[in-house]
Each structure stands twice: as C-alpha cells, then as structure tokens.
C-alpha cells in the first residue's frame, strides 16, 4: 500500500508528465486558453491514462514481453514480440479512447458533452502513449502499481494544464512585448513552472 501511494505522489510531482518530460505539450498549449476547457481535457486525460496504462501492463506482461506467452504453452518461452510494442500500444489506446467515448456517451451525457470534443484528441496526446512506454521502462511489479502510476501521471498533467490556463487568463491583462504574446510567453511561463516543480526533485518517499 505504501508503495502505491509513493508511486502515485512521485508521478504527480516529481516525474510530472509536463514539467519533467514535456509530454502532451501540444494539447497543453492549444487547449489552455481558459480554465473551463482545460479542466475538461484534464479529466479526460486522467481517465484515459488510468485505464490504458494497466491494460497495456497486462499486454506487455502476458503477450509482448520475452517469454510472456508461457502461460499459453511452455514451448513459447523463447518468443519475444517486443518489437510489436508501439503498434499494439497505440492500437489499444485508440480503441480504449473510442470505447471510453461510447461508454461515457451512454451513461453520462452531461460528462460526454463537456468532454466531447477532447476525447478523440486524446488518442494522439503523447502523454498517453508516453505513460504506457514509461510504464514498460520502469518494470512495475504488479498491475496495481501500474494503475497508480497511470492515475498519478494523469493527475499531474491535470494540475499542470489547469495551472497554466489560470495564469494565461490573468496574463491577458498584462503588458507583454508583442512578439512574445501568445505562444512565446506561454513557453517561458511553463519553463518557470517547471523550475518550481523541480524543487520536488530528490524528495524520498
């Protein structure tokens, strides 16, 4: 249990998707004009990361990895399908996004209408694929750890996008040099936020 909490907190603050790895920057920059939309996208990312990372964990450990097919028959012990990783992960992600979209539409039309346009966008958000690839690199011990890593990364991304959206709403009233307006200043603010988040580095949990 302690381990799970530790992974969760680590992935929110120390290994933050946006500030430490710059994943999902495209949508982070494009959808952070207002707080409302960024909250919607943030929730969608938490949701999809929390689902796809554990599923891809299962895929990695029972199908793709070296010797992962042993459960089927002992003679598969030498089979290594890891070169298929990328294509399988992206297929799972695209399929899950579609599925999540349909489920939400069925059971919660209000949530669907607020997330609506963002869900399809998420399939090509690199934070999602990045989450799965980092999960693969870190060799988590069991599915619960992978799930808490996925959720934590999602929450970290959520915090980052809501933070930058709030700052961008305020900065509209400031006198920024014209060539720096819009994109330029957003980059620099993100850099400064990243420096702030770096103060979490080295914290042992």
């Amino acid at each position: 249990m302690e381990e799970l909490v530790s992974i969760f907190v680590r992935s929110i603050f120390i290994d933050n998707m946006v500030f430490a790895y710059f994943l999902g920057m495209c949508s982070y920059l494009a959808v952070s004009r207002t707080v409302n939309t960024s909250v919607g996208l943030g929730f969608a990312v938490i949701f999809v990361l929390g689902i796809t990372v554990p599923i891809n964990y299962l895929l990695e450990n029972f199908i793709l990895g070296r010797g992962a097919l042993v459960w089927l028959a002992p003679r598969f012990a030498e089979v290594d399908l890891s070169f298929l990783t990328f294509i399988m992960f992206i297929a799972i992600i695209a399929a899950m996004v579609q599925l999540v979209e349909m489920i939400i539409e069925k059971f919660s039309p209000t949530l669907y209408s607020s997330l609506g346009i963002f869900l399809p966008l998420i399939a090509v958000n690199c934070a999602i694929l990045g989450g799965s690839l980092f999960m693969q690199e870190r060799n988590f011990a069991n599915i619960a750890e992978a799930a808490s890593f996925g959720l934590g990364s999602g929450v970290g991304w959520f915090l980052a996008i809501v933070g930058i959206a709030a700052i961008r709403e305020k900065i509209r009233y400031s006198n920024v040099p014209p060539p720096l307006r819009g994109l330029g200043i957003t980059f620099i603010i993100t850099g400064l936020m990243g420096i702030a988040f770096m103060s979490f580095m080295g914290i042992e949990l």
């Binding site: 070169f83 297929a91 720096l180 819009g182």
Partner: protein, 219 residues
C-alpha cells in the same frame, strides 16, 4: 494517370514545389508557428548529437509516411483514416527504432521512449491530415521533408544552445576553450535541466516573431 493529362506537367522542382520545401523552414514552421510536435523538441535537446539523430529519424518517418498515405489516399475510407495513419506511422517508427538499436545503440538508449513517441508527434499526423490525404506523392514527399526539416532546425538550434552553455561541448567535443575556464568561466548547469528547454524555445519564438511581425499573435 488521368490527372496528369488535364493539367500541364509540372517540373519536379517548380516554384510551387520548392515553396512546399522552404515554407515550413520559416513562416510556416511547424514548431514556432503551427505549435505542433513540441514534446520531443524539449525532451531530447540536452545534447546536439541526440537532437541530430532525432531530427533525422523524424525526417525519414515523415517523408515515407507522407508518400505512403498519399499513394493510398484514394483507397482509405474517411471514417477509419486515423487508424490507417497511425498504423502506417507506427510501422515506420518500429523500423526506425530497430535501425537505431542496431547501429547507434547508445543514442537509442538516451532517446528512450521518445523514439516511440514519434508516433504521436502531432506534426506527422497533422501533415498527413492536412496535406498527404489530398495531394500526389511527390508534393507530399516534399511537404513531409520540408516540415520535418523545419522541425529539425529548431531541434538543432535548441540542442546547440543547451549543449554549448550547459556543458561547454558540441557533439561531445570541447567547444569552449580551456583558458575561458581559467579566467573564471563556468558552465551553466541550469541549461541542462528540462525547464530551460522551454525557455530557449520561448526565446527562439520571440526572436523569430520580432523579425517577422506578421506572425505576432493578436488575440
């Protein structure tokens, strides 16, 4: 080809085709202007060498992906085009990944997940959607190479500044002469840290928009 007979034949490097190649370098730069494919620019630019390998990989993937999608463009049903595009890109990325692992294993280790993330690099998807689906293979190829090169030069510029000021080297060779250190120059360790990549890109954008006022964001 029936299309060719209706219009005058274009030379391979006509003005229009050259525009496809050069526009993305400046006024339509995918990173500075279209804001596509930022993730990898920031994460792998600590050294010039990794930036170079990444830039070459993206040029290769993008050129081929554009050609393949452009060849298939009449056969792809619009409803499933995203899956088809992802499959094509993912297969090319697998090829690049295997090549990198085979020939430059150390750099491949350093790039870690970011080779895989070329799949979700939005420049590639963006250009496939916007250009390759509606154009013939050769212009699509030029468009792909042009955009990837526009991405590449920003990557190299950021990598150059970060490695020069962060570790005083370029491509792993000492670039700042030794006597500078004797008179008290020190490497700015800050440049190696992730947030400085963002600030470097911010400054590049600032300079570019200062030179080219048309790009300024009015909203």
């Amino acid at each position: 080809m029936s299309e060719d007979s209706t219009q005058p034949k274009e030379t391979l490097f006509s003005v229009k085709n050259r525009k496809l190649l050069t526009n993305p370098l400046g006024p339509e730069n995918p990173i500075n202007v279209q804001v596509l494919g930022i993730c990898s620019v920031l994460a792998i630019t600590v050294q010039l060498q990794t930036s170079l390998v990444m830039a070459i990989s993206v040029v290769a993937v993008m050129g081929f992906a554009n050609v393949i999608i452009s060849l298939l463009r009449k056969g792809i049903p619009p409803r499933i085009r995203i899956i088809v595009q992802l499959t094509v890109i993912a297969s090319l990325v697998i090829l690049v990944d295997q090549l990198l692992k085979a020939f430059v294993y150390d750099i491949s280790r350093q790039l870690s997940v970011f080779v895989g993330l070329i799949i979700t690099n939005c420049i590639i998807m963006g250009r496939l959607e916007a250009f390759a689906l509606h154009n013939k293979p050769w212009p699509s190829f030029l468009d792909g190479i042009g955009n990837a090169a526009g991405y590449g030069w920003v990557l190299l510029a950021v990598g150059f500044f970060r490695e020069l000021f962060g570790s005083g080297t370029l491509m792993g060779y000492q670039a700042i002469p030794g006597f500078m250190y004797d008179i008290g120059y020190e490497n700015n360790g800050f440049m190696i840290l992730p947030p400085m990549a963002l600030i470097t890109v911010g400054i590049i954008i600032w300079v570019q928009r200062y030179k080219d006022r048309r790009l300024i964001d009015i909203s």
